[in-house]
């Protein structure tokens, strides 16, 4: 069989599908067959190109020509001109909006790819269990450079200049943190990597450790050199067995190469790393609780100051950084502070990894420059909302963050803008919600999580969150009053102001931001006893439309609690007192007689 010489890739993503990509695909295939080219040219549907705005897309390989907004009527021209005569169809090429020039080659469409992988540079590229592959991608070169060519203070200056801020949630400048720890005087100091990642729906840190563990090891050693520490600890949750395995292999290989241990790279610098396992408590991601947990104590936070940089693990100065923060470090050293600080927005430099989840087409791990808008993330990278539904909100910052809505779609994502919009960056979880999500239930879900995860040390968080949850529960059951909404707001403010640690201080955020953005939905739950998303079961009523009911008895036979009565061939009715709202009748009725009100 002859090998294909050319391929036409047609975007089959949902958005392009909506704009006739299927008919385009068929037309291309038919014409190619007509011309007898089907043994040389293959037409194939692909996943989303992330360029839905300009769909449908056709990409010609091997010359990488990228055609946009191609209609079925354009198929013949592409084939006759490009495929047969080798002349590109200029009219359909991507038009650079700035230079007004046609760009023919997808590699030169600078901004076509919205994602830039820095922290994830090696994920999905190298074999994480092979140190040589890491080295071949400039691995450990930054460490060598620091140890042999730079003083700790120079490295710290470089980190400060780069503008890197902590990716664990707080956004504290990393270089500054290193400087503070380096200035703390002590015989022993520690470098701690926070790999607790307790935010529901987040898996950025796990993916980095699974895909590129050496980048974290190298960065920890660099940090050790800067602050004067020779002990590193990775606090990782025991629920991440694969990440733990890969880290162990990586540490072992680094030791064998003499990149960890005594006299690293022929210098006098000693550094080694051990693992500490967490039991998967959200509060143990908070740095003081994390340190107590490592000391073998209860995982409870303590007051700051003193900050860990001054007094941490066994009262020694301890520099705690997040996994993703560390993963950025070697690149910054290799490529320089200017290079790094040119990426991102004014006060937030570099990129951020997000775990895209929820009602979005392309669930996955993405990395975008700071300052990318939500719209770009959701529609261009995420491929839009699943099943063509309407976007409602996106929760960033997990249980500590808030929701962003339609009006925030064009806000550039960075630390400060997110806070100004009533949410926060958090560690990078991004949960997308559509019209079927009830915002009161969303708030309740997060409160359920915080109530469960609160360590119980301080009253506002232990009792306050419980009360918040109770009120939300009342609302979703249709028993709420307008005073309850005010009570939620007041209580939230008190908890924020008085809780001891970040968990309690941020736990009311989902409540406040859903009230801010979706007050009408809260009010509906109270005054109309209605949940527009149809998620609050207690507020739903299954009823039978007499006109549609033919008396087939299918519903009555399938109702698990015998709530439906009626004669065969007669009209059936549902007894609301008995109904448990399981929806079995709706599913079984073939005559659209059962409806939800």
């Amino acid at each position: 069989m002859a090998k294909y010489k050319m391929h036409l890739l047609v975007c089959g993503g949902t958005a392009c599908h909506a704009s006739e990509s299927e008919r385009l695909l068929d037309t291309l295939k038919t014409i190619i067959a007509d011309k007898g080219l089907d043994s040389e040219v293959q037409v194939i549907a692909t996943g989303c190109f992330g360029f839905c705005e300009k769909g449908p897309i056709v990409k010609v390989m091997p010359d990488n020509t990228f055609y946009t907004q191609v209609t079925p009527d354009d198929a013949r021209e592409i084939i006759e001109e490009h495929i047969i005569k080798g002349r590109k169809v200029n009219r359909l090429l991507y038009l650079n909006p700035e230079s007004k020039e046609h760009v023919s080659d997808s590699k030169h469409m600078g901004f076509y790819k919205k994602q830039l992988r820095i922290a994830l540079r090696n994920c999905g590229f190298i074999d994480p269990e092979n140190i040589d592959e890491y080295i071949s991608r400039d691995g450990y070169e930054a460490l060598a450079k620091c140890l042999t060519e730079m003083t700790p203070q120079q490295v710290i200056e470089l980190m400060k200049k780069s503008g890197l801020r902590g990716r664990g949630g707080g956004g504290f400048p990393t270089g500054l943190k290193w400087e503070i720890t380096s200035k703390s005087v002590s015989d022993i100091k520690y470098v701690v990597c926070n790999a607790d990642e307790g935010d529901p729906g987040a898996f950025m840190d796990r993916s980095i450790l699974e895909g590129d563990p050496h980048s974290v090891i190298e960065a920890m050693a660099i940090c050790g050199y800067c602050i004067g520490a020779s002990n590193g600890l990775v606090y990782i949750r025991a629920e991440y067995p694969l990440a733990i395995d890969r880290l162990k292999i990586a540490i072992k290989q680094a030791r064998e190469y003499g990149l960890l241990g005594n006299g690293i790279l022929g210098t006098g610098f000693n550094f080694d790393i051990e693992l500490r396992y967490g039991a998967g408590a959200f509060v143990c991601g908070e740095e003081t609780a994390l340190i107590h947990s490592m000391e073998g104590k209860r995982g409870e936070p303590t007051m700051k100051p003193p900050f860990p940089s001054v007094s941490g693990y066994f009262e020694k100065p301890t520099n705690v950084n997040n996994v993703e923060t560390f993963a950025n470090v070697p690149v910054i050293i290799n490529k320089g502070a200017e290079w790094y600080s040119a990426i991102g927005s004014e006060k937030s430099k570099g990129t951020k990894v997000f775990a895209l989840a929820g009602k979005i087409n392309n669930v996955g791990l993405i990395e975008v420059p700071m300052g990318t808008t939500l719209r770009e993330v959701i529609y261009e990278i995420g491929g839009g909302i699943r099943n063509g539904k309407k976007f409602k909100a996106v929760q960033t910052g997990g249980p500590s963050g808030g929701c962003l809505t339609e009006k925030h779609l064009d806000t550039p994502i960075d630390y400060d803008n997110l806070i100004a919009s009533g949410s926060m960056m958090g560690s990078g979880g991004m949960i997308v919600m559509d019209e079927d999500d009830c915002m009161v239930s969303v708030a309740k879900f997060y409160l359920e999580f915080t109530v469960e995860e609160s360590c119980g040390k301080c009253t506002p968080c232990r009792i306050g969150n419980k009360r918040l949850h109770e009120i939300l529960d009342k609302l979703t059951k249709g028993n709420g009053t307008m005073e309850d909404i005010d009570r939620l707001k007041n209580l939230s403010k008190v908890i924020k102001d008085t809780a001891l640690c970040g968990l309690g201080q941020t736990s009311p955020n989902p409540v406040l931001s859903t009230i801010d953005n979706f007050l009408d939905e809260y009010v509906e739950h109270v005054t109309e006893k209605k949940c527009r998303a149809g998620q609050c079961k207690a507020l739903m009523q299954y009823t039978i439309i007499p006109d549609n009911c033919v008396g087939c008895t299918a519903c009555a036979r399938n109702c698990p609690v015998n709530a439906i009565s009626g004669e065969r061939k007669g009209i059936h009715t549902i007894n609301q007192e008995v109904c448990i709202k399981c929806g079995a009748c709706l599913e079984k009725c073939k005559f659209n007689a059962v409806v939800i009100k």
């Binding site: 090998k3 294909y4 975007c11 293959q42 194939i44 549907a45 692909t46 996943g47 989303c48 190109f49 992330g50 390989m61 091997p62 790819k113 919205k114 994602q115 830039l116 992988r117 994830l120 540079r121 090696n122 994920c123 999905g124 590229f125 190298i126 074999d127 994480p128 269990e129 040589d132 592959e133 080295i135 071949s136 991608r137 400039d138 450990y140 070169e141 060598a144 450079k145 042999t148 898996f203 796990r206 993916s207 699974e210 895909g211 590129d212 991440y240 990440a243 064998e256 190469y257 003499g258 990149l259 790279l265 022929g266 490529k335 087409n361 669930v363 996955g364 791990l365 990395e367 990278i381």
Partner: protein
């Protein structure tokens, strides 16, 4: 294993590997092998990447095709796991999503043997700092 004692040692390892890696990065060498990378992070393994990787290793061997099968981390397309990246000699890498045993079989038979693309290609939607 030898110890790395200096930046020069490090560079040497890197150069030794450059051959192997560049083959993976921009294989222009017509005699070089087929490169297969299976995304084996938690998301991939949970959706069966391990079985797919074993299938590739065994079947390519049985069908007498010279290929290197390696594992790697998460490519980011978690919605389409297991994902597999195939690089034919002299060609740009192609990523396939939702690769089960059947799909793996048709990838071998159609794409690897005949250069015929198989449905389910995922366009690479990001740029990495190193080429």
């Amino acid at each position: 294993m030898t110890q790395v004692k200096s930046l020069a040692d490090l560079r040497r390892i890197k150069e030794n590997l450059q051959g192997k890696m560049s083959l993976r990065e921009n294989s222009n060498n017509p005699e070089s092998l087929v490169q297969i990378r299976v995304a084996m992070a938690t998301c991939g393994i949970a959706s069966g990447a391990k079985q797919v990787m074993e299938f590739f290793i065994e079947e390519l061997d049985k069908r007498n095709i010279q290929a290197v099968v390696t594992q790697t981390g998460c490519m980011g397309y978690c919605f389409a796991e297991p994902t597999v990246e195939i690089t034919l000699p002299g060609q740009a890498p192609v990523v396939y999503g939702y690769v089960d045993i059947n799909k793996a079989d048709s990838i071998i038979e159609k794409y690897i043997k005949n250069g015929e693309l198989v449905d389910g290609i995922i366009p690479v939607n990001y740029e990495t700092i190193q080429k």
